[in-house]
Amino acid sequence: MNQATDHSLLDPPQLPFEPLLQRNAVVTEQPWVRWLLTAAALVFLGFFLLLPLVGVFTEALRHGLGVYWQALTDSDALDAVRLTLLVAAIAVPLNLVFGVAAAWAIAKFEFRGKTLLTTLIDLPFSVSPVVAGLIYVLLFGAQGWFGPWLIAHDLQIIFAVPGIVLATVFVTFPFIARELIPLMQEQGNDDEMAALSLGANGWQCFRYVTLPNIKWGLLYGVLLCNARAMGEFGAVSVVSGHIRGETNTMPLHVEILYNEYNFAAAFAVASLLAGLALVTLVLKSILEARHGGELSTSRRH
């Protein structure tokens, strides 16, 4: 019998990447225009971004490594670093859970009030951090709504670590959810439904199917969330009380030192924050380069 060729076994696998587009002469400008635009962009970038960054490190090291090291190992500075790490260590995991839950709910289910929820997630982006801080003072401060009850039970939130954590959680809430929602919407429900139809339970479905699908996007969101959690100034400043060694985070510590005209120390601590920013940037670029396809297509941050 004449066996026909089975074309479904022959059709070529799709390439995992698109071939590079050739530069199209039609949409390319004159060389001098290209040079001018590039130069303008570079000058701007250099002046507003590169110069301050270089400035931070130059100022920090102006009086030599010894002074720099001393400023960093000062006990107040170390307390500030420790507090900042503690706050980030609490706020980031919380937002990881909230963010994944919110993104899951919004991307995979239809329910009443979904648009409202999506808008609410963006609220911390649109509200001034100072207002965010004031909200917590209004709620938990001595004169606030829950103030008397808190005082009666000897609980302190404002001008203490819990207040700083709350303010940080509020300000950094959107980073992970915002990163995951478009990604999960784009991926749709088919993979999850396939897993369920094969007998997986909810947890197995999340653990083996959803999580691997979003892991790079999640890491990206965590990175940005962490950078913001460690660098947040406004909201934290309102609720912190600036008690040295107790409620002073790194950004607040920089301000205090600066106001005391202790520029070398201020810039030394600032250089740590700048370093964090650089590390975040490098990791973010690596993620985008390696796993760009598995991040959400819309880049807003």
Partner: protein
């Protein structure tokens, strides 16, 4: 495992997606749900799977009520149009997934899972590709893996949602033939959704034709093609000409045309719609039996000659498809006045502009004198 679908109702935002749908699928049957988009066919499939729940009605597998069971408790194999392979897992892990996630008490040993997955990979003719990732496979290969993955849990029923919809025509044809063979080998009760009538007719034991959330007709390929129960079915399964006709006494006539088409019509007197396929029309020289027409267009496309003609009596336009051998017989060309003969046609109560009215008496009538000629 047979499937009973009883009086299923489903609404989406006030719009009835399924309206009192009942269907029985026999054990080992291969059934196609065929219809245009929005006809409710995918909703019905997802309700069988447990991916949607009906507002009312029942689903039974082998007599066991499944209506309130979640998808993971139904033990069904579901194949998605866009494969839904787990892209971070190898082909082998994809196929093994359904067994790996079982409760410890029901889970086979790792070696047994691997053996089963490899066996299924052979079954879908992809032996040797177990370490590949989905992005290293072609569309056809992905769909085979998806099918193997669905079969791994030894499902009670196999459900496929437009399984070949995302593939090119050539691959689709091969996979169709292969699925048919696979079904003969494995004997799973299979329901698949398609909007491609050729696919449905080629693959399925029986075809369920759906429109606007209702089943229009269920039957074998021959049934639905030869005796379409409603104008929708007639129209959906191929090209059609619709002509006004009239029943007078027991005679079926075209207005203005001389002789009666049928002399023992089962329809009550009054206007009717006559549906006839272009391929069931023939042209004959004047003087032979038939209806007077004037040819307005002749176009040869490969083995088929397509023509248009006006009915002399009332100006209605009909399209005609003739096998090319037929082309030489009568001297027909644009402007020629010839006789039109209908090899077979269907008659339905006149729609009168509205398409919602239920059609009564499924009727398929033939002119005995004109069958088999031409």
């Amino acid at each position: 495992m047979d499937i009973q679908i009883r009086n299923i109702h489903k609404q989406f935002a006030g719009f009835p997606a399924l309206d009192d749908v009942s269907l029985a699928v026999g054990s080992g049957e291969l059934i196609a749900l065929l219809g245009p988009s929005g006809s409710g066919k995918t909703t019905l499939l997802r309700i069988i799977a447990g991916l949607e729940f009906p507002d009312r009605g029942q689903i039974l597998f082998g007599g066991e009520d499944m209506s309130r069971r979640a998808v993971r408790e139904r033990n069904i194999g579901f194949v998605f149009q866009h494969y839904a392979l787990f892209k971070h897992m190898t082909v082998l892990d994809n196929i093994a997934f359904g067994l790996t996630v079982r409760r410890r008490a029901l889970r086979p040993a790792p070696a047994a899972i691997r053996a089963k997955a490899l066996e299924l990979l052979e079954l879908v003719q992809l032996g040797g590709l177990e370490q590949r990732y989905p992005h290293q496979l072609s569309g056809g290969q992905k769909q085979r893996v998806a099918l193997a993955r669905a079969l791994a849990i030894d499902p009670r029923v196999l459900l496929l949602d437009e399984p070949f919809g995302a593939l090119d025509a050539k691959v689709r044809k091969d996979l169709r033939r292969w699925l048919r063979e696979l079904h003969q080998q494995t004997g799973y009760t299979t329901v698949f959704v398609t909007h491609d009538q050729e696919e449905a007719l080629e693959l399925a034991d029986r075809v369920v034709i759906m429109n606007r959330g209702r089943i229009e007709q269920v039957g074998t390929v021959d049934d639905v093609y030869e005796t379409p129960r409603t104008p929708f079915v007639f129209d959906f399964l191929g090209d059609s000409n619709v002509l006004d006709a009239e029943v007078r006494g027991r005679e079926l006539r075209l207005p203005g045309a001389g002789e009666a088409l049928v002399t023992d019509s089962i329809h009550p007197a009054g206007p009717v719609d006559l549906y006839v396929r272009p391929g069931d029309l023939r042209l004959a020289e004047p003087g032979r039996a038939g209806i007077d027409v004037r040819v307005t267009e002749v176009q040869r496309t490969g083995p088929i000659v397509r023509a248009s003609a006006d009915l002399v009596a009332n100006g209605s336009v009909v399209s005609i498809e003739l096998p090319h051998l037929h082309h030489d017989a009568p001297a027909f060309r644009v402007g020629a006045q010839l006789r039109l003969r209908m090899m077979q046609f269907s008659v339905y109560p006149a729609a009168r502009g509205s398409q919602t009215g239920p059609t009564q008496t499924p009727a398929r009538e033939r002119e005995p004198g004109q069958r088999g000629r031409g």
